[in-house]
């Protein structure tokens, strides 16, 4: 392997903490961010410890003011289905909530940093996703949710703690698997005020975020090769970027740069505003209907697939706020963790309020090592699989593995060559025997058996030849890959990525962006007013009125978004399908008759043409 000179490397025997410091990231936040990575101890001390039992009852295990790290990990047997959780903010009365919100506003004024959303997620998403978003928002009336005042109180409490303990903490872990040295940087936040602070999808008490760096050893040196940044609950190849990927990886003095989403704290490789979607849970039958419809809609009618159950959201990773990292005024204070740290391995509960949200968005996360249900977390136990690296060998091993595979296939090719020759001889001999049996009625049985044997052998031979041909192509591919590896050439750094998460183009604007935003903000409410008006004034025409109003709203939306042609096409197509169905119901006999006549005439014309030569 050629040495890689343009990146920071570390001797293989570097102590873990030093290794973590050498590659620790620089994290940029968005202006208006409210909480930053902090130590767990001060947080836990402010919490109460509770249990939610399967019968719906709640139990206070340790009241607020008496918590400690020791009490957090005390063994407490519990029934199946019990959820243990910390609660940072105790329930607030109406008066307390109002005071907290006023104090939060005062704190923001004092800090002087405000978040301005720009083109909001609703204007970016379109009318149908907005309908789904409306349903999603209304679902908070039924689902559990974290009150906005709790998030405000968490922000105030965090700021109070920060005054005494201003350091920024990451929990670093070093683990070695399958030839890779994995550096994990875990960040703990007091809250995730994404919904209440940044128009996001959810709020929850506490937040655990993480990035992983993957190093390989060559000539006694550890060389960084990949980085994977955790972003929401995504995992796999799409999360991973190669260290030398200049379009995706931003570096500052050899340290990888992370752009944190405002409120969500999701980690991104590039600065910007990320538009993404949360898929709402839907029953299997509905998913099957949507899938069938999309197949017809896209393959037969050539339209865009329908994604009505996707709620759009925007993650703002603008990097115009605080910078934490080496070579700056806000350095990291690292803490080394592994399975021997009791709070890491022995506390399987949630690190904040269990909001009883069935789809979990508002429930606090569990710690680095566990999922919300207490099972081991993939990104901790299988950091390679988390980033899709479990199938990728470290570069120095790649050549060796490829050479071994190549040798194995070459050996098999030699074997195949001999086998094919042998089978060809046998097949020809059997063919001659078969020929000899012809004209001898008393050998009918043997003839049939011989014929069967020949068919079987011919099939075997065909398979062997197929394998031989495929192996030739495989060997050629291996040779090309080996040549590239030996010369130090690398694949396209995005070759493994199926969906490259890219920020929106900052220069891109909607056609009438102000009008579109205003429309996005009011359209859903207007639709509800129209429905109310229809029910009250024209109850006989509710369904027709609703359909007309929906079409009208969709068309207005399309004009504002510059998508009038596409929208008119699909709206008309849907109407035509409904009309076609009605026509079929009323005239199905005539339609079938006409179709048969047309087919008959066309077939007759074809045949008569053929006859005429």
């Amino acid at each position: 392997m050629k040495p890689i000179s343009d990146r920071i490397i570390a001797p293989a025997d570097t102590p873990d903490l030093e290794l973590l410091r050498k590659f620790e990231p620089v994290v940029y936040y968005t202006k208006g961010e409210q909480v930053y990575p902090a130590a767990v101890e001060y947080y836990v001390r402010e919490c109460s410890l509770r249990e939610h039992h399967p019968d719906g009852s709640e139990e206070l295990l340790v009241p607020q003011g008496q918590m400690s790290m020791e009490k957090l990990i005390e063994p407490r047997p519990a029934a199946f289905g019990t959820i243990r959780y910390l609660r940072f903010i105790e329930p607030l009365s109406l008066g307390e909530a109002a005071k907290v919100l006023a104090d939060q506003a005062a704190l923001r004024r004092q800090i002087g940093e405000y978040f301005r959303p720009g083109i909001g997620r609703l204007a970016r998403g379109g009318f149908l996703p907005r309908l789904a978003d409306g349903l999603f928002s209304l679902s908070f009336l039924l689902r559990g949710r974290v009150p906005a005042a709790d998030m405000a109180a968490a922000e105030l409490d965090y700021n109070a703690v920060r005054e005494e303990h201003p350091e920024y903490i990451y929990y670093g872990r070093v683990t070695r698997q399958a030839g890779w040295t994995v550096l994990q940087y875990w960040f703990f936040y007091y809250s995730n005020p994404w919904r209440s602070g940044f128009h996001g999808v959810n709020d929850h008490e506490s937040d655990w975020e993480m990035i992983s760096l993957y190093l390989y050893e060559d000539d006694g040196q550890l060389i960084p090769e990949w980085a994977a940044y955790a972003s929401h609950d995504f995992n796999g190849d799409d999360l991973r970027r190669r260290w030398d990927d200049k379009t995706e990886m931003t570096m500052e003095n050899g340290h990888p740069v992370v752009f944190a989403g405002a409120g969500s704290h999701a980690s991104y490789f590039r600065r910007g505003e990320y538009q993404d979607e949360v898929t709402l849970p839907q029953p299997d039958w509905l998913a099957a209907i949507i899938k069938g419809w999309n197949k017809l809609w896209t393959q037969t009618f050539g339209q865009e697939p329908v994604e009505a159950f996707h709620v759009p959201f925007v993650d703002y990773a603008r990097a115009d706020g605080l910078r934490i990292g080496p070579d700056g005024p806000n350095p990291w204070s690292p803490v080394l963790v592994d399975e021997t740290i009791p709070w890491v391995s022995q506390y399987r509960g949630l690190w904040g309020l269990f909001a009883r949200d069935p789809i979990s968005g508002e429930n606090a996360p569990a710690g680095p090592m566990y999922n919300r249900d207490g099972t081991p977390r993939g990104r901790w136990v299988d950091p390679l699989g988390f980033a899709g690296l479990d199938k990728v060998p470290p570069p120095p091993q790649a050549v060796h593995i490829l050479e071994q595979d190549s040798q194995e296939i070459s050996r098999r090719q030699r074997e195949l060559k001999a086998l094919i020759l042998e089978k060809v001889d046998l097949l020809q001999s059997m063919g001659m025997e078969l020929k000899g049996m012809e004209g001898n009625p008393h050998l009918a049985k043997q003839y049939a058996a011989q014929e069967k044997g020949i068919t079987k052998l011919a099939a075997e031979l065909r398979d062997l030849r197929k394998e031989q041909t495929e192996n030739v192509a495989l060997l050629e591919g291996f040779d090309r890959q080996l040549e590239r590896l030996r010369s130090g050439l690398k694949d396209d750094p995005h070759a493994h990525v199926k969906h490259l998460d890219a920020p929106d183009n900052p220069g891109e604007k909607l056609r009438f962006d102000r009008a579109a935003e205003t429309w996005a903000a009011v359209s859903l409410s207007l639709l509800l007013f129209v429905i109310a008006g229809l029910v009250f004034f024209a109850s006989h025409y509710v369904w027709a009125g609703l359909a007309l109003a929906l079409i009208f709203f969709v068309v207005i939306e399309s004009i504002l978004r510059g998508a009038f042609v596409e929208t008119v096409a699909w709206v008309t197509l849907v109407l035509a399908m409904v009309a076609a169905l009605i026509l079929f119901i009323h005239f199905w006999k005539w339609i079938i008759l006409a179709a048969l006549l047309v087919m008959g005439v066309s077939l007759m014309v074809q045949r008569l043409r053929e006859l005429a030569g």
Partner: protein, 150 residues
């Protein structure tokens, strides 16, 4: 053998002819809808033989006259669109699709709330499906070959 000359002209798919014929059929239906109420009220013999308004609402004559005028406008719009369509203009595709959409809405509302006009409905269905064909969209520059959708 002499080489066959290749025409530079854009070839229009057969669906374009189908659409054009359907527009003519629709035009004739609409024309009938223009004349039928006028004949019923002896408009051509007697002119406007009664009041059009009864207070704020229309009289039956007023209502029929209004629908005649609306259908006349629709028919004229159809002719205008047809000319653009036969000249393969992009705007005529958009206009025709919008026109068909509006016409389908009226047909469906009629179907559910008063009398259905199946001939108009069928014509609109044929036009809508034909306009959506990739070949038709390409010839009107609505869909390009490098696009998966319009």
């Amino acid at each position: 053998m002499p080489r066959r000359k290749k025409s530079d002209k854009k070839k229009s798919p057969i669906a374009v002819s189908v659409i054009a014929v359907t527009i003519v059929v629709l035009f004739l239906i609409r024309l009938y809808q223009v004349y039928e109420p006028l004949i019923r009220h002896n408009f051509f013999k007697n002119g406007i033989g009664g009041p059009l308004f009864n207070g704020w609402s229309l009289t039956p004559l007023g209502s029929d006259l209004l629908s005649s005028v609306s259908y006349l406008l629709l028919s004229l719009a159809g002719i205008f669109v047809l000319i653009g369509f036969l000249r393969l203009q992009s705007w005529s595709w958009v206009l025709l699709m919008s026109w068909t959409g509006i016409s389908l809405v009226i047909s469906l509302v009629d179907y559910f709330y008063s009398h259905a006009n199946y001939a108009v409905m069928a014509s609109n269905v044929i036009i809508a499906f034909s306009l959506n064909l990739p070949g038709v969209q390409r010839v009107f520059n609505i869909r390009r070959d490098d696009e998966a959708h319009i």
